[in-house]
């Protein structure tokens, strides 16, 4: 298995510079980093990839067993770092990929120089003394909605392709295919994402980490960001003045600035 084609890995930026590996979250693909990654190209070798099942990854490589836990995705990240000989790498993970990076760094600390965790959550479901933001019932409802958009996941791609106005800045290859995925895989990824509990893994992460928390994020609320910050042995918390779960798209300047400041320190 060629790891690089499996995960649709792309490399850009400075050749002999430190490496930075960007991992997208649930529901998206590596195009998610379009406003953030370019800012690091002068100073870093920038590596982007799609999780198996997302974007232009090799769907035939999707193994329900391997990807039924976040460990499978963490293993993919490790394999990419090793295949490209990136270590020690700065890992930038959004949403569920923040935890994927944390797991990879906990298991293989020698491969990771820093972690940047954008909107991380080790567990989405409320538990005794822990507020994750959702009840088990609400997550079940999400899975139901995913099922309800079984048609939607694949169908809304077509009108977008037809309806693309003249917006060349999107780039040919991304037009109409952003966040495209296989509905059955998306549903499984949703379960893996929202039903996992990785709270006990956080204290194992010794890699210095930056936690980027949006002021108003309904997916990963402020308490969760603070919890992650407290549980990580060596972390720094920055609250972005942004709304929503995707500051990398909605407030990229703040994300870039916070990262640059952290990496320079």
């Amino acid at each position: 298995m060629d790891v690089l084609s499996r995960n649709n890995v792309s490399v850009s930026g400075a050749d002999d510079a430190p490496s930075m590996l960007f991992a997208h979250g649930f529901g998206c693909d590596k195009g998610m980093w379009r406003h953030v990654a370019p800012a690091f190209e002068p100073s870093h070798r920038v590596v982007l990839f799609d999780h198996v099942g997302a974007g232009h990854s090799d769907l035939s490589a999707y193994d329900p067993d391997r990807y039924s836990s976040l460990q499978g995705y963490a293993l993919d990240a490790v394999e990419i770092v090793e295949a490209l000989d990136l270590a020690p790498v700065v890992f930038v993970g959004h949403s569920v990929s923040a935890m994927i990076g944390a797991l990879a760094a906990a298991d293989r600390p020698e491969l990771f120089a820093r972690l940047v965790l954008v909107g991380p959550s080790p567990r989405y479901i409320d538990d005794d003394g822990y507020r994750g933001g959702f009840s088990q019932q609400e997550i079940d409802e999400l899975l139901e909605t995913m099922d309800g958009n079984y048609l939607g996941w694949s169908q809304h791609i077509a009108p977008v392709i037809m309806g693309v106005p003249d917006r060349p800045e999107l780039g040919e290859e991304l037009a109409g295919s952003f966040c495209r995925t296989d509905p059955a895989i998306a549903r499984r990824f949703a379960r893996t994402t929202f039903l996992s509990d990785n709270r006990s893994d956080l204290p194992r992460v010794t890699t210095p980490s930056l936690v980027l928390q949006c002021r108003n994020d309904v997916i990963a609320p402020m308490e969760v960001g603070q919890y992650v910050h407290q549980q990580l042995p060596d972390s720094h918390l920055v609250v972005l003045d942004a709304t929503g779960h995707c500051p990398n798209l909605s407030a990229p300047d703040q994300v870039v600035e916070a990262m640059q400041r952290y990496l320079a320190a």
């Binding site: 979250g25 649930f26 529901g27 998206c28 195009g31 998610m32 379009r34 329900p64 067993d65 990807y67 039924s68 836990s69 976040l70 949403s95 959702f134 609400e138 409802e141 999400l142 899975l143 139901e144 909605t145 995913m146 099922d147 309800g148 958009n149 079984y150 048609l151 939607g152 169908q155 809304h156 009108p159 977008v160 309806g163 693309v164 106005p165 917006r167 999107l170 991304l174 037009a175 109409g176 952003f178 966040c179 499984r188 990824f189 379960r191 893996t192 994402t193 929202f194 039903l195 996992s196 509990d197 994020d217 309904v218 997916i219 709304t243 929503g244 779960h245 995707c246 798209l249 909605s250």
Partner: protein, 644 residues
């Protein structure tokens, strides 16, 4: 906004870059049941969606809108006044981030889609269930025997049905369930509630699925499957497990019956192959049977060794078509028929003609093949015939070997008419051997029959010098080393020794160790066990040393003669005289005579010689010193029951 804005029968919104409502028309406000001042400028659209829709928006639709600047007909649900309201959402974003949204009610479409989806899911689920069930059923039906069915079931539970672990209990002789095997990590315990085991369906219990395996009359076992625990894993499908349990119960039924049959057939075959060869110092025989390993069923290969008449030894190797109980019983009938038909004046060709008539009445023995030979123990003449069977092999004492292609005709009963059966004769010299065997010894998929026969011939020739039992063992080992064990194999080697053992040792004892070696070989060829043989050789060499010392004064010109023979107790052999009193231990007796021309002084005259006799007495059962025409020491040692 115009009056039309509010009157449009669709929800109309504008959002800012964050997704916060900046305008909403009356239709939308009525759908969510909230006053304008509650929502406009205050809430984000995603907060007005169901939780599922909110996550979907935040993780997928929002990013999509930011990048593509457009969403078309996305199905989401608004949190309405009393219920969730399915809507289709279409949105475009302007350069400054302003988003225009149209929501149209999708109650009907949504209901229709739900039905479609349910039908599709149901169809997909059925297809997946059928596929899983087919895989498992195929695996179960390929499995032969209870153990194989158990393995197939456990493998299927883990590989096909998605269990992280599975354990199987099967009833022991008393019907109590005992752990039989497991896959994966499992704390294997039967559920306390025995009632569960009598359900007809699989039952979820304590996070595992208990699957009773009912045969047609009995509980044949219980499978316990543990689901995977990873967040993204599928739950176990209880319906499929129920169906698999039914299949497995019946498969265990079949396997149990099959094993009973196979046991009976094996028992029968075992008794048929437990040949008790007649004993006679003029021949030695050894046979090997190697059952096929692939199937539990017994094959149809058989052999027999018996006296057709006094001094006439019959050897036969045959192959009955088919396997299992039918083949074993046909083999038994055919074997009896061969014994019954053979006799002093029958001869191989006539014997085959009789057998043709016999298999005409015993259908299962039809098309059986066999090689049959009669050895005249006095003259060494062999008469043989082959009915559709691989040719016997003649192995000369000199090391030459030749396939015997004469005396051939068709398999038994196969359209043979009287007169079609042929026989051939040949003359053995002392030490020559005749090899009969079945096709499993020589047939391989990847080589021609001729190559197999030539390999057999060359190998047997190389082994001509080994004692008979060793030669059979070595031949079987060498020829079967590249074989995958599919077929059963039968080999029989008979050697003709015209006389017993006789050697002369010069009284200076220069030939003593040679004699010991030869005697040991002869004893082994005669089927004497190695421990007895060693004792006999020791006692004999002591007797020879005594004879050389005391009878011949160690003169190199004088000789000590050693003769040895086996006296068998033939009470159990057909038509033969013998049986000297103890039919229960029919191993026979080794008799060694050590003769010299001199006259011994009385046994007690010399302490040294007396010790020699004591040693002999300790090694054999009986020592007799006869003084007539020189001195003869006769040593007798009875043999334990002979197994060949």
């Amino acid at each position: 906004m115009s009056a039309g804005w509010d009157a449009v029968p669709a929800g109309l919104l504008t959002l800012d870059r964050d997704g916060t409502l900046t305008e909403a028309n009356a239709t939308f406000l009525s759908w969510v049941g909230r006053p304008r001042e509650d929502v406009v400028g205050r809430v984000r659209l995603s907060e007005l969606l169901s939780v599922g829709g909110r996550i979907y928006w935040e993780t997928h639709l929002g990013p999509l809108l930011l990048v593509e600047r457009r969403l078309d007909e996305v199905a989401v649900e608004l949190r309405g006044v009393d219920e969730r309201l399915p809507v289709l959402l279409t949105a475009v974003a302007e350069d400054d981030g302003t988003v225009h949204v149209v929501l149209s009610s999708a109650r009907e479409r949504s209901r229709y889609e739900r039905e479609l989806r349910a039908a599709r899911e149901s169809a997909e689920r059925s297809a997946a269930q059928v596929e899983a069930l087919q895989l498992v059923t195929a695996a179960l039906s390929r499995a032969v025997g209870v153990s194989a069915v158990a393995q197939a079931l456990l493998d299927a539970a883990v590989r096909t049905l998605g269990a992280s672990a599975a354990a199987l209990w099967l009833p022991d002789g008393t019907g109590a369930l005992q752990p039989h095997g497991a896959r994966g990590e499992l704390s294997a315990e039967l559920p306390r509630a025995a009632a569960v085991l009598h359900e007809r369906t699989a039952v979820e219990l304590d996070g595992r699925v208990v699957v009773p395996l009912h045969g047609s009359n009995h509980l044949r076992g219980v499978l316990i499957a543990t689901p995977r625990s990873e967040a993204g894993s599928d739950p176990l499908d209880v319906e499929v497990l129920t169906a698999v349990g039914q299949q497995a119960g019946l498969a265990l039924d079949r396997a149990g019956l099959y094993e009973q049959n196979a046991d009976v057939a094996r028992e029968l075959q075992h008794s048929l192959l437990a040949v008790d060869p007649p004993a006679d110092p003029r021949f030695t025989v050894a046979a090997a049977y190697r059952p096929g390993v692939e199937a539990l069923e017994v094959g149809g290969d058989w052999y027999d060794v018996f006296l057709a008449d006094t001094g006439l030894l019959s050897v036969v190797v045959g192959d009955v078509v088919g396997r299992g109980l039918g083949a074993a019983s046909a083999m038994g009938q055919l074997r009896s028929a061969v014994r019954a038909v053979s006799g002093p004046r029958t001869g191989p060709a006539a014997l085959l003609t009789h057998l043709d008539r016999f298999v005409g009445q015993v259908e299962a023995a039809g098309m059986a093949t066999l090689a049959y030979a009669e050895l005249d123990l006095d003259s060494g003449e062999v008469t043989y015939a082959c009915a559709g069977h691989p040719p016997p092999l003649l192995v000369r004492a000199t090391g030459a070997a030749a396939l015997l292609w004469e005396g051939r005709s068709t398999p038994l009963g196969a359209f043979a008419s009287p007169g079609d059966r042929h026989e051939a004769t040949l003359q053995l010299a002392a030490g020559d051997r005749l090899l009969l065997y079945t096709d499993g010894l020589i047939e391989r998929r990847d080589r021609s029959l001729d190559d197999g026969l030539e390999l057999l011939r060359a190998t047997a020739a190389e082994l001509a010098g080994l004692p008979i039992a060793d030669a059979v063992r070595e031949l079987t080992t060498r020829l079967l080393q590249d074989e995958v064990g599919r077929d059963d194999v039968c080999v029989l080697l008979v050697g003709w020794d015209s006389t017993g053992f006789e050697r002369h040792v010069s009284a200076d004892l220069t030939g003593l160790s040679r004699m010991r070696h030869d005697l040991a070989g002869w004893l082994e060829d005669s089927g004497v066990d190695s421990r007895t043989g060693r004792d006999v050789v020791l006692a004999t060499s002591e007797a020879v040393a005594n004879a050389a010392e005391h009878g011949s004064d160690r003169s190199p010109d004088r000789h000590v003669r050693v003769r040895a023979r086996l006296e068998r107790h033939r009470g159990s052999s057909r038509g033969d005289a013998g049986g000297d009193g103890d039919p229960g231990s029919d191993g026979g007796t080794v008799v060694v005579e050590v003769h010299d021309g001199g006259r011994w002084r009385t046994p007690t005259a010399s302490p040294e010689r007396g010790r020699g006799l004591q040693i002999m007495g300790a090694l054999v059962d009986d020592v007799v010193v006869e003084s007539a025409d020189g001195t003869t020491v006769v040593l007798r040692r009875s043999l334990p029951g002979v197994e060949r």
